[in-house]
């Protein structure tokens, strides 16, 4: 059954994740799990961008912006202290709807703010609206022009975050509460929750991977790939190319925002460094290294490169390394690292996302 064959890599990754956890436990290096968890959340951005760029052929240099919209919306709503306003009708009605939670911060101050679930839904909603409004005019552009327009969007978000008092300006926002999901599970970066969060992150990533793989193998996925190949021909077959490009842009932004929300709760903080243009470039580099239209390649590279970067392997040359990788990939392996002859054996183990 070709229907089920596409899920084989999911099972392989699940096993690899479990084995890796056991190995880390045995070797007493469980602290690596923290960076793997963070890399997994960053990979959500990469998966979204891979759909948009690799499959539908539309460039975005503003995905750090969507990551930030998700993260910052969640951060603001869960840290904004409504205590002084708790008597106002608006806040009391929020309270009676069960949208608010009360907690104590590190210094024992009582804080009344929106619950993480409310913030989560609001963050996704706001991302959808912004991605839609930006995409509506911008997605008509092609190639370099689209790249520049999305770059501009990223810069605007960066400046808003850096200048807005509500976003904590250069300091960002910290003391963000953990995100209690359900049944004792919570997105929480503290030590006792390390293993739990390692698995939560992988569950989310693999769930998103399954959605993405299903999508590219579906009618919509074929249409998206056909737009990449030849827009005029796609149009002549009845594909509403503008609508499809807009929807994949929004979906891709939502995946990025999801990563932003979860990582923000995991880290307990978010700052403007998440929104820089170099972050957007980094996501683009990872998709390119992974082989553009290759979801598993993008995920693999997303985990590896983010992990190395978070471990500080690249030192102060972090951004320079990603720039250098981009140049080298474009020169020597435009099909992605895993498609190079040297890695044929490896790439044959990684099935391509689409059966084409």
């Amino acid at each position: 059954m070709s229907q089920l064959r596409r899920y084989i890599p999911v099972i392989v990754v699940v096993l690899a994740v479990i084995v890796l956890q056991i190995v880390l436990l045995r070797t007493g290096s469980t602290y690596y799990m923290t960076q793997i968890t963070m890399s997994a959340y960053y990979s959500l951005v990469v998966i979204g961008l891979c759909l948009l760029m690799g499959y539908a052929g539309q460039v975005s240099l503003g995905h750090a912006g969507f990551f930030a919209i998700g993260g910052y919306t969640s951060a603001v709503l869960t840290t904004l202290n409504l205590m002084p306003y708790r008597q106002t009708p608006l806040v009391t009605s929020f309270g009676s709807l069960g949208l608010l939670v009360q907690r104590q911060d590190l210094y024992g101050t009582e804080i009344l703010s929106f619950s993480p679930w409310v913030a989560f839904i609001m963050a996704l909603l706001i991302t959808t609206i912004i991605a839609f409004l930006i995409g509506l005019p911008v997605i008509r552009l092609k190639g370099h022009y689209l790249a520049m327009a999305t770059l501009g969007f990223g810069l605007i978000i960066y400046r808003i975050v850096l200048g807005g008092r509500i976003f904590g300006q250069a300091d960002g926002i910290s003391n963000i509460p953990p995100f209690y999901l359900f049944a004792g599970l919570e997105v929480n970066g503290r030590m006792p929750y390390r293993v739990m969060n390692y698995y939560i992150a992988w569950f989310v990533v693999l769930a998103v991977m399954v959605l993405a793989i299903n999508l590219i193998n579906s009618r919509v996925g074929r249409a998206l790939r056909s737009i990449h190949e030849n827009e005029e021909a796609a149009h002549s077959l009845g594909v509403n190319t503008y609508r499809y490009k807009l929807l994949i842009f929004v979906l891709s932004a939502l995946f990025a925002a999801l990563g932003g929300i979860l990582l923000t709760h995991y880290n307990g903080s978010i700052g403007p460094s998440e929104v820089t243009v170099m972050k957007s470039v980094r996501y683009l580099v990872i998709v390119a290294v992974g082989g553009m239209a290759n979801l598993w390649g993008a995920l693999f590279m997303g985990i590896v490169l983010n992990f190395l970067s978070l471990r500080g392997v690249f030192g102060t040359y972090d951004d320079a390394v990603f720039g250098a990788i981009l140049i080298l990939i474009m020169l020597f392996a435009p099909q992605g690292l895993l498609r190079m002859p040297r890695f044929k054996a490896l790439s044959s183990m990684l099935p391509r996302g689409a059966n084409g």
Partner: protein, 262 residues
Amino acid sequence: MGNNTLLETTGLHRFFGGLHAVNDVSIKVSAGSIKGIIGPNGAGKTTLFNLIAGTLLPNGGQVIFKDRKITAMKAHTIASMGIARTFQTTKLFGRMTVLENVMMGRHSRTRSGFFAGMLNLPRTWREDRHTRDKAFEILNDMGLVSHAGDTASNLPFGKQRLIEFARALAMEPQLLLLDEPAAGLNIYETKELAKLILWIRDRGVTCLVVEHDMSLVMAICDDVVVLDQGQKIAEGPPRAIQRDPDVIRIYLGCDDAQNSQS
């Protein structure tokens, strides 16, 4: 209009800057026929096609398909109403397989959206299986099944053109616009092509063919329109067109000065 008329254009005009590429062209295509459009390079044939398919907007005039005005409609809407086309330079989806290319032809006949696709609901994969079956059926009819798994861009040129036909047929169109289907084909392939177009017509698909190859046009067309410098200069059955003095003048390239000398 007669109820046997599938497509009609009335007084179409299109300018490109100062160039009057299509000038007051009115044609009728009756259902079940093969109509040819001939004319020298730059006569406005492909522009006329693009006006019908909705790729270009006319500066004046109407396009009527199945008694409905389709003039201002988007190309993808026109496609889903039942007008398919092939291109002068074959436009396959190069990195997709032959099967996927033909499956793309079913796009306007299927429904599944983003959410259904992501969740791969039973309804969705049943629809997809049906799409696959249909695509195989067409490939089988055209003797191309052995290429189903090939990457489209790896096939030789002649095969690619056939795949483009298969993709268009997968749409189950009522009207098929063929833009110079014989371009780049050798004499044997052109003969096969003639058979193929007649076979398509016999499946109930009306064809409108832009073509340079006069032997092909004479062999298959029920009716021929001749364009020159954007204008329709003759219309009628192939035999009559061949004898038309204006047409002979254009095709033999003798101008009025030479005529008056002789």
